[in-house]
Amino acid sequence: MDIQYVRLEEKLPPREYKSDLEATWCPGCGDFGVVTALTRAFSEEKLDPTALSLVSGIGCSSRLPLWMNAFGLHSCHGRAIPAAVGVRLAKPEIPTIVTAGDGDLFSIGMEHFPHAARKNFDMVVISMDNRMYALTKNQVSPTSRTGYKGSLTPYGNLDNPFNVLDFAIACGATFVAQTYAGNPKHMTEIIEAAIEHKGFAFVNILSPCPTYNKIDTFKFYKGRLVDINKDLGHDPSDKAKALEHASHALDADWDPEAKVPIGIFYKTEEVPTFEEKVAALKEKYKPENPETVWDDILNQYKV
């Protein structure tokens, strides 16, 4: 069953995807760049603001749908993915983008990610990864560096950071990419590719928090990024290689010589989407005669 997104015939200018609300993020926040990249990608993909849903959880980055002109669902902390699953089950023709943060997706909402990924729901999940909690004023998140000082861990983070890229591949995500808020062009390209991908597309966006995180800054990333596709010639269909690249995603935390990889790590369209499988079931079991469907149903209960 081929399910097509609703699309416009003509491109809308990117600003048409912005709402009248000004973002309440701090000046210099990486998430501003994500808004810009999203509006450009939506424009390029000819998405219709009245047939597009942006679903988020709670946190700084999860406010994003409010700044956008699209059907937004700013849900509960951690619940962006299942709320998006609801939209996908209801209206698979509506493109659905989850825009959330690293704490929302990988701490409080952790139980949802692997299931949506392995079932291959056709949605884009964007993590704006600032490697800490900002809205609650600086606590460690699952992606925080070892030793990072948060308000609840004043003596430094005891944990190792969580590698979301190799995790996403292991979960069965059919598109896994990383990009950087300081590179709008790369970000736009990756988001477009994620929207075009049929299946579960995870995009980790390194999005620095200028207010609290003084380590994972724009300055830190400058000169450290490497585009695994363009610079290293990585072929995203090579899963073993994808996992190897992903396994080095956090090397720069402790090795000043190491690079931070960006690009499309993994992509396969050989897995049918969950929505396609549901549509096939509905087709297979649809009533021969809709007029008598209820007679047939009730007859099963007659004595």
């Binding site: 700013h74 609801g86 209801a90």
Partner: protein, 601 residues
């Protein structure tokens, strides 16, 4: 008066076919045109433990599972021991003997009591004569049918319906078990009990459904498109029954990774513009509370079925309880808006599920549908519903469609517009011309986050305004039971009760009226917001308001204290919390005790 009213109880070890004996008997009885109501109870384990299945049959409408049983079919010693105290004069005991079983009844003691005993060696006959121990329950059933004079053809038809898929051999084996049992009874037992059932009665246009089946059918008839749930006893079967039906009506049953996810999916689907629901039990409701609040804040319709079970914590997953009312109505944080609906019987499980969708769509609030473990398993023959008529009366949320409003009107149209009744236009992706962001943050009419005291106050009042007149707008959601009394006339006692307890109280009240006691009763189906006016009115008809319910705290009684002007000293709680429903006799005796004391005083 009913010409016959008979209850057969099968009891034994779980997994021995006790439950299916009840099911077969119930279906055969319905086939014969009898009214039927069943009561089942089994342990949470897959195999083993004490299980029972009871079938009450009559030629007249049956209100409850009754006070007890007339015929006990004891599959094993445990079943006998558990039920021995309930054997009384005239009760028939069909037991697994005189040989081959694991027990012997105390003949002398029971004879003295006047219990009638028939030994049917069900284990031995199944093993030796039929050649398959698995047919023990069929032997027991067929013996019971033979003793009652119940046409065996009805049982045979059910066996064909159930087993023909498994092959003719299986059908033949079960038919052999029937013959063996019939022959044994004819040759060895002299019937001395008075119990007899009539021959086939005129066939009625009915369907036989269990409580949870009725919910599934109701949801499909109401047009549910997304059902998301996580397995939990005793609610799982709602989804089981719905899964094949919903594919024919264009929806899908989705097994989520947990209850939190289920509720988020329901909200996401409903936000997208389709009807969505979940079904769970107490522990699931606890997990869903935060998201139910989101549905309330974003004014997203959602139906949450809570098949109550014994709590708190894991409690008693397969047992009866009515203790989730506080959680359903008031379990969230903040001042949220919810509606709680509770059915009293299987037929209402069907119609009130549809009504829950209607209420949810109309008021744009989450509706919690509170049923329970006993009702989930109770089977009834209900008149075949007219789906076309039901569907022509469904209430749908007011989705603003593209092209319906002019650009100027669109400028001034907002998702959370403050209107006279608080109910705002609905906007849905793919249908409506104006996007917005639904947010759990406090927001203004245009859905933008707002925290000014003025806007906060306005929006809070707007959301509560929707439910301000809910009682007056839905008089069909309270059932008056006044007998010959007129509204406002003096009664000896007033009774308000809810859920399954209401159907049991109804039977007790009929008996009390037959004894000349004047009872004014009210069964609210809308439990929250509480229909205070009706409850105050029924309470005003006597000096006592009795509130029987199967919970410790007295949830409804406490609500009556909170939300009505009825003096506290007038409200008499009557609570049981043993994991089993009331029996009519208990309520009957409680009323007599209260009135007796009053007379003495």
């Amino acid at each position: 008066m009913a010409s016959f009213d008979l209850t057969v109880k099968y009891a034994g070890e779980g997994g021995e076919g006790v439950i299916s004996s009840g099911d077969f008997t119930m279906k055969a009885a319905a086939k014969l045109g009898y009214e039927v109501v069943t009561f089942k109870s089994f342990p949470a384990e897959i195999k083993g433990g004490y299980a029972l299945s009871q079938v009450r049959m009559s030629d007249k409408k049956i209100l409850s599972q009754g006070d007890g049983f007339d015929i006990l079919v004891a599959f094993n010693g445990e079943a006998y021991e558990v039920n021995k105290p309930l054997l009384r004069e005239g009760t028939v005991l069909i037991w697994d003997g005189p040989e081959g079983g694991d027990f012997e009844p105390e003949f002398e003691e029971l004879e003295k009591k006047g219990v009638i005993m028939y030994a049917v060696p069900m284990s031995k006959l199944a093993k030796q004569e039929v050649g398959a121990y698995i047919t023990k329950n069929v032997v027991a059933m067929a013996a019971t049918f033979e003793l009652l004079g119940m046409p065996i053809e009805a049982l045979k038809e059910e066996i064909v319906a159930k087993f023909s898929k498994k092959g003719q051999e299986v059908v033949d084996l079960n038919f052999k078990a029937i013959e063996v049992a019939q022959q044994y009874v004819r040759e060895n037992i002299k019937k001395i009990d008075p119990y007899k059932v009539p021959g086939p009665l005129p066939k009625k246009d009915v369907i036989i459904v269990e409580g949870n089946e009725a919910i599934a059918l109701g949801a499909a008839a109401a047009g549910v498109k997304v059902f998301a749930a996580y397995p939990i006893t005793p609610a799982t079967t709602v989804g089981n029954y719905l899964a094949p039906i919903i594919l024919k009506t264009g929806g899908y049953v989705y097994q989520a990774e947990d209850e939190i996810s289920s509720m988020a999916i329901v909200i996401g689907a409903s936000f997208a513009g389709v009807k969505a629901m979940t079904a769970t039990s107490g522990p699931g409701v606890s997990l869903m509370q935060e998201l139910i609040g989101l549905a309330s804040m974003t004014e997203t319709p959602a139906v949450i079925v809570d098949v109550q079970r014994g709590g708190p914590s894991t409690g008693m997953p397969t047992k009866h309880d009515q203790a989730d009312l506080f959680a359903a109505a008031l379990g969230g944080h903040g001042d949220d808006q919810r509606i709680v609906i509770a059915p009293t019987n299987v037929e209402e499980n069907f119609y009130l599920t549809i009504e829950s969708f209607n209420m949810s769509e109309k008021y744009q609030v989450p509706v919690l549908f509170l049923t329970d473990a006993s009702l989930s398993l109770r089977a009834e023959a209900i008149p075949t519903p007219n789906i076309k008529e039901i569907q022509s009366k469904l209430i749908e949320r007011p989705i603003i469609k593209k092209g319906e409003v002019s650009p100027e009107e669109l400028e001034h149209l907002f998702r959370y517009q403050i209107t006279e009744n608080g109910i705002s236009p609905f906007l849905a992706p793919g249908e409506s011309p104006k996007p917005y962001t639904a947010t759990g943050l406090e927001h203004g009419e245009n859905s933008y986050p707002r925290t000014t005291p003025k806007e906060r106050t306005e929006m809070m009042e707007k959301r509560f305004k929707k439910l301000e007149n809910i009682e007056d707008e839905n008089p069909h959601l309270v059932e008056w039971d006044l007998g010959d009394l007129k509204e406002g006339e003096k009664a000896d006692i007033s009774i308000v009760t809810w859920g399954l307890t209401a159907s049991i109280a109804k039977e007790a009240i009929q008996r009390l009226r037959n004894k000349g006691i004047k009872v004014a009763a009210l069964y609210p189906k809308l439990i929250y917001p509480l229909p205070s006016k009706a409850i105050e009115k029924v309470a005003s008809m006597s000096d006592i308001l009795l509130v029987p319910e199967a919970n410790y705290l007295g949830h409804l009684a406490k609500f009556i204290r909170m939300f009505t002007s009825i003096p506290a000293e007038k409200i008499v709680q009557y609570n049981i919390y043993r994991g089993e429903p009331f029996i009519p006799k208990e309520i009957e005796e409680k009323v007599e005790e209260i009135l007796g004391k009053k007379v003495q005083a």
